[in-house]
């Protein structure tokens, strides 16, 4: 034991600095979540509607992003792209890589949702004389979005957690600030406890927010449950895992 006392005063004292980092973490995460939502929805639409070339491209993009580490994407964009003339500052790199990462997972989330809309519903829509577009607009999107939103919220929470990766390229976010303070003051316990608590609060707060939205979306639960593929054991397990990162 190098030290015996735990200095609460120190945590209070460094809170303003930590808040600066927290602001950056929230800024990057919120933007990245919004972009992931956009990428996810449009990507899933392209995949579900089987848009000729685009669908293939989206599939390859999703496979590449999901099977390579985020930290390598970050380093690739930050250190690799300047060689071919694309220079981005660290914060932009953070937002871009996190958005692309979250987007790839979101495509799969939303695609799972549209797949889960039962075929009979789509067929009955078609037999009522709805056009392809009307089926998408009135049946697939509202049902699919609701079914897949819980999966997307897991992805969004992972985006918040993974914003900590940006420490690697020197973005002044929560983790970076904390490690920086530790190098100056050697108050390791205090600092680590403080950021652990802040992250947990942030992540549980975000989870709570998303569960509120989920409940809001779920107002006619019976229709949603009618979709096949949800609620199966493996799906639930897989869902719980997507949060893993």
């Amino acid at each position: 034991m190098s030290r015996l006392s735990f200095d609460f005063g120190y945590i209070i004292q460094t809170l303003p600095v930590l808040m600066v980092g927290l602001k950056m973490t929230v800024f990057i995460s919120v933007l990245a979540i919004l972009f992931s939502l956009l990428i996810g929805l449009s990507g899933a639409a392209a995949r579900t509607l089987k848009v000729p070339v685009v669908s293939r491209i989206v599939a390859v993009y999703v496979d590449i992003i999901r099977n390579t580490p985020l930290l390598v994407h970050v380093f690739f964009v930050y250190f690799g792209l300047p060689i071919i003339g694309i220079k981005l500052d660290a914060v932009t790199v953070g937002i871009v890589t996190l958005s692309l990462w979250g987007g790839a997972f979101a495509v799969e989330n939303f695609r799972g949702g549209t797949d889960a809309v039962s075929k009979s519903l789509i067929e009955s829509g078609e037999s009522l004389g709805l056009s392809r577009w009307q089926v998408v607009r009135h049946i697939i999107v509202p049902l699919g979005f609701r079914i897949s939103f819980p999966a997307f919220s897991n992805t969004a929470v992972s985006v918040i957690k993974n914003s900590a990766y940006m420490t690697g390229i020197g973005v002044v976010e929560l983790t970076f600030v904390a490690v920086d303070r530790m190098a100056y003051d050697f108050k390791t316990y205090e600092m680590l406890l403080a950021i652990a608590v802040i992250y947990l609060a942030l992540i549980w707060g975000a989870s709570y927010l998303f569960s509120r939205i989920e409940r809001r979306l779920d107002f006619n639960k019976k229709t949603v449950k009618g979709g096949k593929g949800r609620g199966g054991f493996v799906e639930k397990l897989a869902l719980s895992f997507r949060r893993g990162n």
Partner: protein, 217 residues
């Protein structure tokens, strides 16, 4: 290309380090994860809530934070280990918490009649778990474990943040070396190579997990 040939040995060592780290983490995490997962189902409220708390805590924290906690806390507590061991501990803790949740889910999915039948045969709780429940549960959690392995291989890159010499780190060293000795950067090419290697390792795992998931549907 010439640079690659010259450094291939060094890069290969990095790949092996990454794989070693991933596999050792998975082995530790399986043991702890199954233990914690079973304990989450314990009748004793205190035991089950501690086990659940462990899982929720380390699933909730970003891996980077867990990594830093282990890396900076151990020396403070007087335990000096290198960054490889630190990374191994942190990643094992993280993956074991994920495995424990999968184990709990798998056990809960086993029909209660199985427990009752085992008890009526005179098996103790431990024997029931060992011979009846876990063998069935294991098959059901296999897809998630393989998915996690792919995730774990990707997460090992984080160990470069605490200075572990894995594949990503060795690639960075090659880039630096070339910059210093020859001038001009090959960062773009090397990072493409790194992405490629990770893809080659992780893609088959994800495919396998997906196929298993589908076959259990």
């Amino acid at each position: 290309m010439e640079v690659l040939l010259k450094n291939s040995h060094f890069l290969l060592e990095g790949v092996i380090n990454t794989l070693l780290l991933s596999i050792s983490c998975l082995c530790i995490a399986l043991i702890i994860g199954i233990g914690v997962g079973v304990l989450q189902m314990a009748k004793n409220r205190l035991v089950s809530s501690i086990a659940r708390g462990y899982a929720e805590l380390f699933r909730g924290l970003p891996i980077v934070i867990t990594l830093f906690i282990v890396f900076f806390m151990l020396p403070e507590a007087g335990i000096y280990v290198n960054s490889y061991i630190s990374a191994m501990i942190a990643l094992s803790v993280w993956s074991s918490s994920n495995i424990s949740v999968a184990v709990r889910g798998a056990i809960q999915s086993i029909p209660p009649t199985q427990f009752e039948a085992a008890h009526s045969l005179g098996l103790s709780s431990v024997q029931t778990m060992r011979y009846v429940i876990l063998p069935q549960a294991f098959r059901r959690m296999l897809p998630s474990i393989i998915g996690l392995l792919s995730n774990l291989v990707q997460s090992t890159t984080l160990s470069v943040l605490i200075g572990n010499l894995d594949f990503l780190k060795s690639a960075q060293l090659v880039i630096e070396r070339v910059e210093i000795m020859q001038g001009g950067s090959i960062a773009f090419q090397i990072y493409v190579l790194v992405l490629l290697v990770y893809f080659v390792i992780c893609y088959p795992l994800s495919m396998w997990a997906k196929r298993l998931e589908r076959s259990y549907r």
